[in-house]
């Protein structure tokens, strides 16, 4: 089992997966988001290669209303 922190919440995965697969498996819309793992931004072209590991801290960010 892989334990991660996703947007501040504890989350677990059955096995290591790429970011791309992680987003698909969790029904997360892939447009207009930015991914940060352990405070490093992972650009979209690396989503297929970058594997989510145990204890990773993942932030998935988008734009919302604000002044």
């Amino acid at each position: 089992m892989i334990y991660i922190t996703l947007n501040g919440e504890k989350f677990f995965l059955k096995k290591e997966v790429s970011i791309e697969n992680f987003l698909t498996l969790n029904n997360i819309i892939k447009n207009n988001i930015v991914i940060e793992i352990n405070k490093v931004i992972i650009t979209k072209n690396l989503w297929g290669k970058k594997i989510i590991k145990n204890n990773d801290i993942i932030e998935i960010i988008t734009a919302v209303g604000g002044g």
Binding site: I29, I41, I61, T62, A63, V64, G65, G66, G67
Partner: protein
């Protein structure tokens, strides 16, 4: 006549926020009615488990018509503001950022020290920084000197709608500045925006004044004209104030 920011020219001197609207459709209608060409957005976590059909704010704003201005709202330290700015740059593929580092959750006033540290770092990283600040004359100049492209002093605290509470300092900041000065926060109604522009501000940034009005779309339109009106009055250079009454009608050939 135009507002020049980051090598781009804008016809409207009004910048609006996208927060607190009932829904994205209302945000879009207000944006259209306001005539603004720049709209601020916040950079926040995605709602995990979202509905796949749920529209994202960025899907509603045509990037060929509007400039998206991400902010660092919710940051209380320079480190956090830099981190959010980097995420924002990746999200909208642009180096323009509204830097906002706050002191505390009660007053929502800018943290001057952290704002200055963050601004320096962001300029170094190649950002075009529009910085939210207090009405502090020296700090405004320091932020300009380190390379911010616009300095944005508050009218009054965020969300209060109290208008321009320190017009004398604001005037001094405008007078001393070589970069656009944009009043950000505190505008409550159209006359507040007009006053800011009459003082010589280059623009006005507001959110709650439109979003929290009973009719946001009509208020958006009011703000559009308020900013135009204030700017024109500033350019026209107002009449001198007199302590004595002076008749407007010609005194010659009076009947009595």
């Amino acid at each position: 006549m135009c507002l020049n920011l980051n090598n781009k020219s804008y016809k409207s001197r009004l910048i609006i926020g996208s927060g607190k609207y009932k829904n994205i459709e209302e945000t879009k209608s207000a944006l259209t009615a306001s005539g603004a060409e720049i709209i601020t957005v916040a950079v926040k976590r995605v709602n995990i488990g979202q509905n796949q059909k749920e529209k994202n704010l960025l899907d509603y704003i045509d990037p060929s018509k509007y400039k998206i201005l991400p902010n660092t709202a919710g940051c209380y330290s320079a480190d956090d503001a830099v981190r959010v700015s980097l995420l924002a740059r990746e999200l909208v593929h642009d180096n323009l950022i509204k830097l906002e580092v706050l002191k505390d959750k009660e007053t929502l006033l800018p943290n001057e020290k952290e704002t200055l540290i963050a601004a320096k770092e962001l300029v170094k990283l190649g950002f075009a920084v529009m910085v939210y600040t207090t009405v502090n004359i020296k700090l405004a100049k320091d932020l300009e000197k380190i390379g911010c492209i616009a300095v944005m002093p508050l009218g009054s605290p965020i969300g209060t709608g109290k208008g321009i509470i320190n017009s004398s300092n604001l005037k001094k900041i405008i007078h001393n500045s070589n970069v656009p000065i944009i009043v950000d926060a505190g505008i409550g109604t159209a006359s507040d925006a007009t006053i800011a522009m009459e003082l010589g501000c280059d623009g006005v940034l507001l959110n709650s004044a439109i979003a929290m009005a009973e009719n946001p779309i009509i208020m958006a339109e009011a703000m559009r004209y308020a900013v135009i009106s204030g700017r024109k009055a500033f350019e026209a250079k107002r009449m001198k104030i007199s302590d004595i009454a002076i008749p407007s009608s010609n005194k010659k050939n009076a009947i009595s």
